[in-house]
């Protein structure tokens, strides 16, 4: 069984996580609306069963997600330039949050974006393919 099981990468420690740079999924298109909120357009998955379902039911070719004001400000900074730590600091300054509040909310939000496949993390050093 070991032969076929993919070895899971070691989890990121706290320091590496804070130094990681969130990066938007380049396959997604997004735009900033007039009110400053971000609208992300997610294309339909191109798998055989989605294709099959699309023949039977109406499956839109794209779906859109609109992020709120705070979410939009985080999203626009997921450019591979800002580290997680700098995002937390910016959140803290912009919304006058306590460090812990800013840290917990930013990390939870980034995790949600990552689980939906909207962003990935560029991790420092040779720690590619690690789990945040």
């Amino acid at each position: 069984m070991r032969l076929f099981r993919k070895k899971s990468p070691p989890p990121l420690d706290r320091r590496d996580l804070l130094r990681a740079r969130p990066l938007r999924n380049s396959r997604l298109s997004w735009e900033k609306m007039d009110d400053g909120e971000v609208m992300i357009s997610i294309p339909r998955r191109n798998t055989w069963w989605v294709g099959l379902m699309a023949r039977i039911f109406y499956v839109p070719s794209r779906r859109t997600i609109v992020l709120d004001k705070i979410g939009s400000s985080v999203w626009t900074r997921c450019d591979g330039e800002h580290t997680v730590e700098s995002l937390i600091s910016l959140m803290r300054e912009e919304y006058k949050l306590e460090r812990k509040e800013a840290e917990v909310s930013t990390l939870t939000y980034l995790k949600q974006l990552m689980e939906k496949g909207l962003i990935g993390f560029a991790v420092p050093g040779n720690r590619a393919n690690t789990k945040p």
């Binding site: 320091r15 937390i88 006058k96 306590e98 460090r99 812990k100 509040e101 840290e103 909310s105």
Partner: protein, 316 residues
């Protein structure tokens, strides 16, 4: 130890009080006034650990410290890292007032692994509050933590000196009468709620972050009225000179949630009862926060809530 902040801030929790660099904040809390644990973290690692418990028997302090350090050494040995370096009998606390009523044992330990950690700590038994308090300030081995650690340990108090208890967390600070105790707490991202109970009833202290989002363009008065669950009989405004922000005071009646019956609630004897409530609130624009202090119940303690509201420091 180089902290990114040169300012120091208080932390008060269950009669314990200590001062730490501003960028250290509560990372873990458990227990109550009798037995509990408090940890303060910075962006990198846990920085202060405090444990407290009632005195049981007369076990010498040095033996308790020895037991703790033995456990730590054992943990270290299991990790197959180099042995722990330990120093004991250190005089880390110099404050005469503290030394008068407390037997204190100071210690220092450090690891020698790759991410080496060190700690200065103290264990003491207080003859006034009858509690044993264990506190240690942690740092990386390469950091010079002695001066910060001694300063933190010297500010640590295990019981209040006067008639009031200081509660300080996440930049908020206020005082409650010493006869009041914490009944319930919710420390959520963007919302802190502390509910106290005392001989005169209950009070709630609530802080909401992201005030601009909460208000959503409404004036504070509208928000305050809309979030008052009840009928408002009297209202007044708070003086900015006293509370540092313009605020509001409401007095009215509301349904007591404890008397709401889910089953057969329509029967005359099971209808929900109303009780009086009093509420103070203000919008702290510099801190982008909303504050609300509430006293449910009919008990005649109009001064209790006002006194707490007067002591509340909402922004630095």
């Amino acid at each position: 130890m180089k902290s990114s902040s040169s300012r120091w801030t208080p932390t008060g929790w269950h009669r314990l009080y200590l001062e730490t660099p501003e960028d250290w904040s509560i990372g873990a809390i458990s227990g109550d006034a009798t037995t509990g644990y408090l940890r303060l973290d910075d962006a990198v690692m846990p920085r202060v650990e405090v444990r407290w418990e009632p005195v049981k028997g007369q076990e010498p302090l040095d033996r308790i410290v020895a037991r703790y350090l033995e456990k730590l050494t054992e943990k270290n040995r299991k990790k197959k890292t180099p042995p722990l370096k330990v120093r004991r009998g250190l005089n880390l606390i110099k404050d005469e007032a503290v030394l008068q009523t407390r037997a204190i044992e100071g210690f220092h330990w450090e690891t020698e692994s790759e991410d080496a950690v060190q700690a200065y700590g103290a264990l003491w038994r207080c003859s006034v509050c009858n509690r044993i308090v264990f506190a240690q300030v942690l740092g990386l081995d390469r950091e010079s933590i002695f001066s910060t650690a001694t300063r933190v340990l010297n500010t640590l108090r295990d019981h209040p000196e006067g008639d009031t208890v200081v509660w300080a967390l996440y930049g908020m600070k206020f005082e409650t009468p010493a006869t009041w105790s914490l009944k319930e707490h919710r420390l959520l991202t963007g919302r802190i709620l502390l509910r106290f109970t005392g001989p005169d009833g209950e009070i709630e202290v609530e802080r909401l972050s992201l005030a601009e989002m909460q208000l959503n363009g409404r004036p504070f008065e509208t928000w305050f009225e809309q979030t008052c669950d009840g009928d408002i009989d009297r209202r007044d405004s708070l003086s900015e000179a006293e509370f540092s922000h313009p605020g509001l005071w409401y007095f009215g009646t509301a349904i007591d949630p404890a008397t709401v019956h889910k089953r057969l609630g329509w029967l005359p004897g099971r209808r929900p009862k109303k009780h009086g409530f009093e509420r103070y609130g203000w919008h702290c624009a510099p801190g982008n926060k909303l504050f609300s202090l509430r006293r449910p119940g009919e008990r005649p303690t109009p001064e209790a809530l006002l006194n707490v509201a007067r002591t509340l420091t909402c922004h630095r």
